[in-house]
């Protein structure tokens, strides 16, 4: 049914090395896991070396990919598929191989994970220097990166599910890394459970897509992604199967990528160490949902209902999260809401058909946001874990490098040219205006609103942290050490040049790689096209956000009475309470979930057990209690009983023989 292209078959012999990236990280995980109970120092060299090798592997795969020109083979081929020889397991007739897809999408994600992973590991060496459990920390990071690499390589929905759960475990372990802190423990639990709720959808969606048709080889179903996509394009799924499959899988993506209303775990997840927030909760794991939706985009393309849901959910998330980022006072939480908001934008972009633009934004955002988180880590490191931005200010005099890097990251995310955020955002907007979707105008206006909001909250953070007058006295404040600043500077470099390189200089080769090959039917832009009106609009809104931010927060217009009364005030309190979503969830947990479980447990004891199981026993006991009075132990009682019984029997016998009594 699905055949690998001949040209692709010749090449992959040296692509097997791609597996070494996750395998080495797993080795690092095991080695450090064993060493974590010893007192050996310098264990962090293992993951550092592994991460360099993994970057090397990425470069090899990347150059092989580019030189072989695998980007276009028509709509049924996606790069190279590679199956291991021994199956991992066999289900009935379905063999489950460790198989990889290596196409533009995978290569892109490989690059992002390897590079950001490596930089975060280096940064962590200084950041976690004083922590006694840092070996375990690096072990968990290795585990996470291994699972994440595995996730983007997998060519099979079940393997994706496996990796999906494992990255969730990595996130759980790292959020709850400081397990002595109750907030961290609760946040870890909340993250795992919320994403697990989404995973119910993912599992059921996979089951629907995997078992709804019979393959040519006679197996009951297949979880092999190219087969599924081909089957969908050949119309082997009924409309409802495809709709439900796509919608439920998207539920999983919503959990992992923190889409409204399952986004509540991500801001809490900031309880973990800051490098973890940069790696897992900004650049990689939270993008897994976007990756999955992009990977299965050909299915969503056919299922218009699912695609509409994707678009709307993405847009709602983008705007609601941006509004929350505007009013929060915790530096990491602002960045977290900003992440949620940008993830929403990517999902929205996929919904409008611009999956290539969404992937571009994923990478641009990954670099910029990792940079912002690591800068925040610098600040917290200097200010003794302080995260409240109202207690900061004027930091530009003390931490110049951090200030410049943070500024570039913030401008990139606000979409100011020529930083990379500008290119990806414009490409997304281009998709909105040119895509064949309904309500284009409304979508376009709302995305301009998003741009305004995102540059406004970025300006607010920047002014309050680095520019405005400080309200507190700093003690022994200093710029971060070099090992922490170098990764940040490298990320800044990527934030600056990534967009220019991919969209202007090497547009024909590099941006092609971002394509998932032309699977699709939608006529959406796969290249960055300069559109003057669009640029003026988007940059104009971004600049107006910055200017508004300057007046509001630097000149303190925000304290004027207009903003503290009427509509603004109630809006502010609504948003500050996170739209009462957390309260609503807590209410559900305490009033519905806990009540239901208490009732079930009560029914179990009072009815199923006490009435169903005990009462027959007690009935028998009560009956025998009564009956035992017959058993008096006195011979004359028994004799009487015998005589009575015999008489009754004789009477019955006579009755039966003669038909009458006496």
């Amino acid at each position: 049914m699905y055949e690998i292209n001949e040209a692709a078959l010749q090449a992959p012999s040296n692509l097997g090395i791609v597996w070494w990236a996750p395998i080495l990280y797993i080795i690092s995980f095991v080695v450090l896991g064993v060493l974590s109970r010893t007192k050996i120092k310098y264990t962090y060299f293992v993951p550092i070396i592994v991460s360099f090798i993994s970057i090397g592997i990425f470069i090899t795969v990347f150059s092989t990919y580019v030189s072989n020109n695998w980007e276009r083979y028509g709509c049924d081929i996606i790069g190279v598929c590679w199956n291991g020889i021994d199956p991992w397991f066999v289900i009935g007739d379905i063999e489950m191989h460790f198989g990889a897809i290596i196409d533009g999408l995978t290569v892109t994600m490989l690059g992002l994970i390897s590079i950001v992973g490596s930089l975060v590991i280096i940064y962590s060496v200084s950041y976690m220097h004083d922590d006694p459990r840092k070996t375990w920390y690096f072990s968990c990071i290795s585990f996470f990166i291994a699972a994440m690499l595995f996730l983007v390589l997998a060519n099979n929905l079940l393997l994706i599910y496996v990796a999906w759960e494992l990255v969730g475990l990595g996130s759980y372990l790292l959020i709850g890394f400081w397990y002595g802190k109750q907030t961290a423990v609760d946040a870890a639990k909340k993250a795992f459970i919320t994403t697990r709720i989404g995973d119910v959808g993912l599992m059921v969606g996979i089951l629907i897509l995997g078992t709804s048709f019979t393959t040519s080889s006679g197996a009951i179903g297949t979880f092999h992604i190219p087969d599924i996509i081909l089957a969908a394009q050949q119309g082997m799924y009924s409309t409802s199967e495809l709709n439900w499959g796509c919608l439920l899988i998207f539920l999983g993506a919503m959990g992992k990528s923190a889409q409204f209303p399952l986004h509540i775990w991500l801001p809490d997840a900031m309880e973990g160490p800051t490098p973890v927030s940069a790696l897992i909760h900004a650049a990689t794991m939270v993008t897994a949902g976007i990756y999955l939706t992009a990977r299965l985009f050909p299915l969503y393309e056919i299922s218009t209902i699912a695609l509409t849901v994707v678009t709307v959910i993405g847009l709602i998330t983008a705007i609601i999260a941006a509004s929350m980022a505007l009013v929060m006072n915790d530096l990491k939480k602002i960045l977290a809401y900003s992440t949620v908001s940008h993830l929403g934008l990517m999902i929205f972009g996929i919904g409008t058909g611009g999956y290539a633009a969404a992937m571009l934004h994923l990478v641009a955002h990954g670099f910029s946001k990792a940079l912002l988180f690591l800068s925040a880590g610098n600040i917290m490191h200097s200010l003794h874990e302080e995260t409240d931005i109202r207690k900061m200010g004027n930091l530009r005099h003390y931490m110049p490098i951090t200030t410049i890097c943070f500024l570039i990251g913030a401008l990139s995310l606000s979409g100011i040219p020529p930083l990379s955020g500008y290119f990806s955002k414009d490409m997304l907007l281009h998709g909105v205006t040119h895509g064949k979707i309904d309500f284009t105008n409304i979508y376009f206006l709302l995305s301009l609103g998003f741009i305004f909001l995102s540059s406004l909250y970025m300006t607010r953070v920047f002014i309050l942290v680095f520019w405005s007058k400080s309200t507190t006295e700093y003690k022994d404040i200093h710029e971060a050490p070099k090992t922490m600043n170098i990764p940040i500077i490298i990320l800044t470099f990527f934030s600056i040049v990534f967009g220019i390189i991919t969209c202007l200089i090497y547009q024909d080769t590099l941006l092609d790689i971002m394509h998932l090959v032309t699977w699709g039917f939608l006529d959406t832009p796969l290249h960055f096209e300069f559109d003057l009106i669009l640029t003026i609009l988007s940059v104009g809104f971004a600049l107006s956000g910055i200017i508004a931010g300057y007046f509001l927060y630097q000149e303190n217009y925000v304290n004027k009475s207009v903003f503290n009364s009427g509509l603004f005030k109630s809006l502010n309190s609504l948003i500050s309470q996170k739209y009462y979503l957390d309260d609503a969830y807590n209410w559900i947990v305490s009033n519905v979930v806990n009540k239901v479980t208490a009732i079930v447990s009560y029914i179990d004891r009072a009815f199923v057990n006490d009435i169903g199981i005990n009462s027959p026993g007690e009935a028998i006991r009560a009956t025998s209690n009564k009956l035992r009075y017959i058993q008096t132990g006195k011979v004359y009682n028994y004799a009487l009983f015998i005589v009575l019984s015999i008489s009754v029997i004789v009477l019955i016998w006579i009755f039966l023989e003669t038909g009458k009594i006496l």
Binding site: I91, V204, T597, V600, S601, V608
Partner: protein, 499 residues
């Protein structure tokens, strides 16, 4: 030599038992050493049986046959296929680890081990018997010692609104199981008569082609009779109460092996009552799904650590029953794998609960906190067991549950969805439990508890090893099970093709 392996598997515990019987009462150390030695040999034999089977996958290689009662033609007939080979391995693992954990017992150790080994002989016997009469004989042999083990060595507990004495737990367990045995015994005798083969052998009963009407009439006797032992809703309450009352190693055997006997019994009765099975499996599917969701919800409300694990067993056994009810290869294979996976996982849970209880003298999850600080290894192992329980890939439970989901999804998508939701509920209560008792700040009274000791560590690590091994390399277990299940299901299906 191979044909003597299976009798040997029974003889080794018998010899161990006799040896203990003749040792004077006060030689506790000698008794312990002999039991450990005996259980280690049994463990190795069980491992050998499984590995030898996995190599050849020949269901006849271990066959052993001996006439026992000529007049009734009752035969002592042993043999294993992939399903029972895996179960034999499970018994071996839990037997060995349970023995090591029991070394903590101080009172009446001789009597304890005698009853404990008697129980194990019964369980081994069930899994290797190819003859319905001995199947039932060993089945009863396994159930009876439970009463004494719980009533004598158990714990009574008081809760806010109700009490559970160990005598109550033991009595309830005994009465419910004996009542269910009556159903099974009626089923066995009437099947024997109706089949009219003058034989209790499974294969003769299968060949007998028992009439459909009778099959449909008699199958519920087997279904409910065995189902009770598998924790089938609404006859499950003996199980959590029994767990709470039982001493650690008995809980391990109880949840780890005993409950599997019931599921295994249903599996075997499908073979000779295919039409009955086909008629009644909808009931098992629905009850199994109720088990999953209801058990998980009940577990969430519990305040006692052992009750949480007890109800989680009810919930997980629901997956086994759901898998059986699919009557397709994927579902039944998943069900068999789940039996093994749940067996080792829950044994690990109870072993660790025993470790915690021994140190804190509390099982109340409200009072325990931050235990991972003083008890790092025990905590890590508990987290591994917990992650297995919520079906994390890479650990043994995932593959089994995945197979069951796929199998059930083909027969009844709604039940499969409820099953997946059940797994999510499991995640909620397990993570709540772990966060509650292991993480957070540790209160002062627990801060200096000793970590796991050698006799507790070795069995826990053995169990954790099998959890991870099966999770990472499931193919090894699946290959052994798959063909036997395929044969079973093909034989089952052929009944309907022929007529």
């Amino acid at each position: 030599m191979d044909s003597w392996i299976l009798p040997l598997i029974l003889i080794v515990p018998v010899i161990t038992l006799l040896a203990i019987l003749f040792i004077p009462k006060n030689n506790d150390e000698t008794i312990k050493n002999i039991t450990i030695f005996g259980s280690a040999i049994s463990g190795i034999l069980s491992l050998y049986v499984f590995m030898a089977f996995a190599q050849t996958r020949d269901p006849n290689q271990f066959d052993f046959s001996m006439v026992w009662l000529r007049n009734l033609s009752i035969r002592l007939d042993f043999g294993v296929d992939g399903i029972s080979a895996l179960m034999v391995l499970l018994v071996g693992i839990v037997y060995l680890t349970g023995t090591l954990i029991s070394c903590k017992i101080t009172e009446r150790i001789k009597e304890f081990f005698i009853l404990y080994i008697l129980l194990i002989i019964g369980v081994y016997g069930v899994f290797i018997s190819q003859d319905l009469f001995f199947f039932f004989f060993f089945y009863e042999l396994a159930v009876v010692p439970m009463y004494l083990l719980i009533a004598v060595w158990g714990h009574s507990s008081e809760f806010e609104t109700f009490n559970r004495t160990k005598e109550y737990g033991a009595l309830k367990l005994m009465l419910v199981l004996v009542a269910s045995s009556i159903l099974i015994w009626i089923g066995i005798l009437s099947t024997f008569v109706v089949a009219n083969q003058n034989s209790f052998l499974f294969k003769d009963l299968i060949d007998a082609n028992i009439g459909n009407d009778f099959q449909i009439f008699i199958f519920p006797f087997f279904l409910i009779g065995f189902g009770v032992l598998a924790g089938l809703w609404p006859f499950h309450t003996w199980s959590p109460d029994g767990h709470v009352a039982a001493p650690t190693s008995v809980s391990m055997v109880h949840a780890g092996i005993l409950m599997k006997l019931g599921a295994y019994g249903i599996l075997r009765s499908i073979e000779f009552l295919p039409a009955g099975a086909q008629e009644w499996m909808w009931l098992l599917l629905i009850l199994g799904t109720i088990n999953v969701v209801y058990g998980a919800l009940s577990a969430m409300a519990q305040k006692d650590l052992k009750y949480v694990i007890g109800y989680s067993s009810v919930s997980h056994m629901g997956y086994v029953l759901m898998g059986l009810a699919t009557l397709n290869v994927i579902g039944v294979a998943g069900s068999v794998l789940q039996m093994f996976s749940h067996g080792i996982m829950t044994a690990l849970f109870f072993a660790l609960v025993g470790v915690i209880y021994e140190r804190t003298h509390s099982r109340d999850i409200e009072t325990l906190d931050g235990l991972i600080k003083p008890m790092g290894i025990a905590g890590t192992l508990f987290v591994i067991a917990g992650l297995t329980s919520l079906g994390l890939p890479g650990l043994s439970g995932f593959v089994a549950e995945l197979f069951i989901f796929i199998g059930v999804f083909q027969t009844n998508p709604l039940m499969a969805i409820l099953g997946v939701i059940g797994a999510a509920i499991t995640a909620v209560y397990i993570l709540r439990l772990i966060a509650r008792i292991f993480f957070g700040t540790v209160s002062e009274k627990w801060a200096n508890l000793p970590d796991i000791s050698k006799f507790e560590l070795i069995p826990s690590v053995i169990l954790a090893f099998f959890i991870v091994f099966m999770g990472v390399l499931p193919i090894y277990f699946i290959d052994a099970v798959n063909e036997s299940v395929k044969e079973l299901i093909n034989a089952y299906l052929s009944n309907f093709v022929a007529g």
